[in-house]
Symmetry: C2
DNA sequence: GGGGTGCGAGAGCAGTGCTCGTGTTGTGGA
DNA sequence: TCCACAACACGAGCACTGCTCTCGCACCCC
């Protein structure tokens, strides 16, 4: 109602969005390294110096895009996982892994922006860690559900001989996000997390060409092996 | 003997090396994205246009660095693996994984160059695939040795229900590099390969900060789990 | 010894990120 | 209602980039 609040601020908000959109499409086409402040300005019909009113530096623009990318990936994953009924544990697992891969293939440059080599001289600010946590949180959720359903048999083999520091790190993660999970399960969860993104990155960054490309079947088989590794039962 | 052959060519070779060295140190310090042709020229005491006699474009310089990086990583891994007697199969496995991580941590920017997001508009030429294959070949060697020693029990569970295309891809890889390995073992090998680089990348690219950092113990534990996954026995 | 060629220097083009001074326009307080 | 202030867009400009072209010099094969 307080329209006076939004007179100029509205214009600012819409221009900020327009700038981000132009930048995003430029990143999608040419990659983050070729993102040009001036080209973005041109596309939104401004002079480059005017854009600096909205993003004080090129890295700030990139940061905004990174946050958006994390959020886009996060919500894509959450949507895909939530579309599967909770009791179909292994299907949810497949949906989780598949949605990460799908999003990555649909947005390769944005994926590279968040999971590729970090931009030199660029340090991720604190605003990114919230959105960045959404995928691991979805992973934790999937594992917790399986654990609660009793379909995960705790691999006691590696439970008791974890070194002290690692035991503490894993317990800290568990304490914050999944108090019911034992450290040994958290360890396997992290392993599988890095595994998933290792595969997606290798496929996307061209490390698999000439051998396992197209990688759909490989990916599916690996996802199943990972489910076994986690102890997620069939059905 | 034929000194006349090498009069100018000698100078060319040494200058080429000097340019590469300057470029490499610049990449190591500032990252690939900030590699500047002109700055390299300045450092070797030439005018930028002169450098174009040696590398016709900036991307060609990068390609040379990429090949060198692959070779450096490859020989580091080979050296580390060969330092362990062949019969100590699990120790060799640990050496293999550890050497990849060590090299990556010692050369983060060069690692990012080859395993990070690809340079936009850059397509890896054929000269890279030879050096790039050295690490996977070392991995294959390690697994073959374990297989030959009979310490790997073939996971027959996933052997017979691989889909056709994947079966063919895995067999093709096996046929070329390790005819003795069954497809199911090759599959697990590729999984572990992507797993290894997934972990190293996540650690190096800052995806683990605040949870599992320092990651030495996590890495060691994961390497052991991967050995179990591969079926590499203790001792 | 000469002619062709590999080579370095320098100027120049189009582009980049970013800064600064100037004029314009929307807006909250008197 | 008017006005001062802040937010804003503009354009010039700086130092840098990758890359091209021309021009002389030095080497080297015939």
């Amino acid at each position: 109602m307080n329209a006076s609040v939004t007179a100029r601020e509205l214009a600012r908000a819409s221009l900020t969005a327009a700038i981000k959109d132009a930048a995003r499409s430029q990143v999608a086409e040419e990659g983050a390294a070729r993102l040009s402040f001036r080209a973005v300005a041109r596309e939104v019909g401004m002079v480059s110096s005017a854009v600096y009113r909205y993003f004080p530096t090129r890295d700030d623009l990139l940061t905004a895009l990174i946050v958006d990318a994390y959020d886009a990936l996060g919500s894509a994953v959450e949507r895909a996982v939530d579309a599967v009924p909770p009791e179909r544990i292994r299907a949810r697992w497949r949906a989780f892994c598949g949605s990460v891969r799908n999003w990555a293939q649909g947005h390769p440059q944005e994926y590279g922006l968040i999971f590729g080599s970090p931009i030199p001289g660029y340090r991720a600010p604190a605003d990114t860690i919230g959105p960045a946590a959404r995928v691991p949180l979805a992973l934790i959720d999937a594992v917790r559900l399986a654990w609660a359903a009793g379909t995960v048999d705790a691999p006691a083999s590696d439970a008791n001989r974890l070194p002290g520091l690692l035991q503490g790190q894993l317990s800290a993660v568990a304490a914050e996000f999944a108090p019911d999970l034992p450290a040994s399960v958290v360890l396997r969860m992290v392993v599988v997390w890095t595994q998933l993104f290792g595969m997606v990155s290798f496929e996307l960054f061209g490390q698999l060409v000439g051998t396992l490309e197209p990688a759909d079947e490989f990916f599916a088989a690996a996802v199943d092996l990972m489910a076994d590794f986690l102890g997620i039962e069939e059905q």
